[in-house]
Symmetry: C2
Subunit: 182 residues, 2 copies
DNA sequence: CCTGAAGACTTCACCTCTAAACTTCGAAGC
DNA sequence: GCTTCGAAGTTTAGAGGTGAAGTCTTCAGG
């Protein structure tokens, strides 16, 4: 019974050793970076998800609020632009806005100057929840980086930015359909 | 008409400037690291998704194949363990295995020594597709890191590992329900 | 004007995941 | 040996996504 305790979730190094065993021409240094990136992101999303759940919303809804706030002053965007920004289909955006309107986080109106367009705006409540989520997120993020010195944080940010530039050049389009946060 | 061209997807630095404008007590250095991590991961998933699509499968299916190969020699696991490993509910695992059996990537048999248990194994075809996906993935990953020296790669891996240790301590459980790769 | 084409959102059909109820087998107690 | 409990998978209902088709508005030509 202690023989197969379940699935002890292998450590990063164990996982890389297993990859090398099964696939010889693997560069362990590259794999370590890539696997750590994926695992980190999953854990971060879990952490954010718990925080947004405390506020009675989902990460998906928080994404919309972030996009609206980042858009700047009138804090309004069309569903199409929101969809591009978040990497969703317009159809998904329609449904997500439906829910958020029902929950009082955003408003939806027709643009009177061009009645084919729709304008999504953030409500007071949406803004307040965005702020509270940001507060919680920054606390978590500071904890996450607490073992790194200022110099290390700088170097880490700089290296990640270089990687990002590389992929963004290779994927000039906004980047497709997969789930994630900003 | 050039007034609202769509949504030019803000650069990382523009995004961080916008955050500082809207939320003063934000540490830009921390935010840069965190935002770069999220964006990088999204782009990586897009890249992997294109590669697995070329092989006629999804990232989700590739995840299952990876788990089976990493499990080592008999290359078999129960659905429950697979679900824990991938952060899915058992129900989702049942359906995913259904599809993969139909596509000939894995097999499903009952464990004769304990007939409540089920054993999922990888087929020849599954193994071949896993291998091909790994080949494509390593090419992409090498390109991704091409701007970093060996020394930089080492430091990057080491710093990411430190961050990972920090979150894994804070989330001792396997880590919840959110989508992602390993 | 009126018409055809393009753009922006919505609707529809289907797919995948979650949460919770259900089924079945194995193990422990009497 | 029968009963009860617990563990492992599956089934079901509902949330949220995609892609394709549909609707409505605007705009450029005839």
């Amino acid at each position: 019974m202690a023989d197969t305790p379940g699935a002890p979730e292998p450590s990063l190094d164990e996982q890389i050793a297993a990859y090398q065993r099964e696939f010889q021409d693997l560069d362990p240094q590259v794999e370590k970076v890539v696997s750590a990136l994926s695992r980190l992101n999953r854990r971060m999303n879990v952490a954010y998800g718990r925080q947004t759940a405390e506020l009675g919303m989902s990460n998906a809804e928080w994404e919309v609020l972030k996009a609206l706030v980042l858009a700047g002053d009138p804090y309004r965007m069309g569903p199409g632009d929101l969809a591009k920004r978040l990497g969703l289909t317009p159809a998904a955006m329609t449904h997500r806005i439906d829910r958020m309107v029902a929950e009082g986080l955003v408003t939806r109106e027709r643009d009177e100057s061009n009645r084919v367009r729709v304008i999504v705006g953030i409500t007071e409540e949406g803004r307040a929840k965005w702020l509270e989520a940001m507060r919680m997120a920054t606390v978590f993020e500071e904890e996450l980086l607490q073992d790194l010195s200022g110099e290390e944080r700088h170097r880490l940010g700089e290296m990640l930015t270089r990687l990002l530039r590389r992929v963004e050049e290779a994927q000039p389009d906004a980047g497709g359909r997969l789930s994630d946060l900003d």
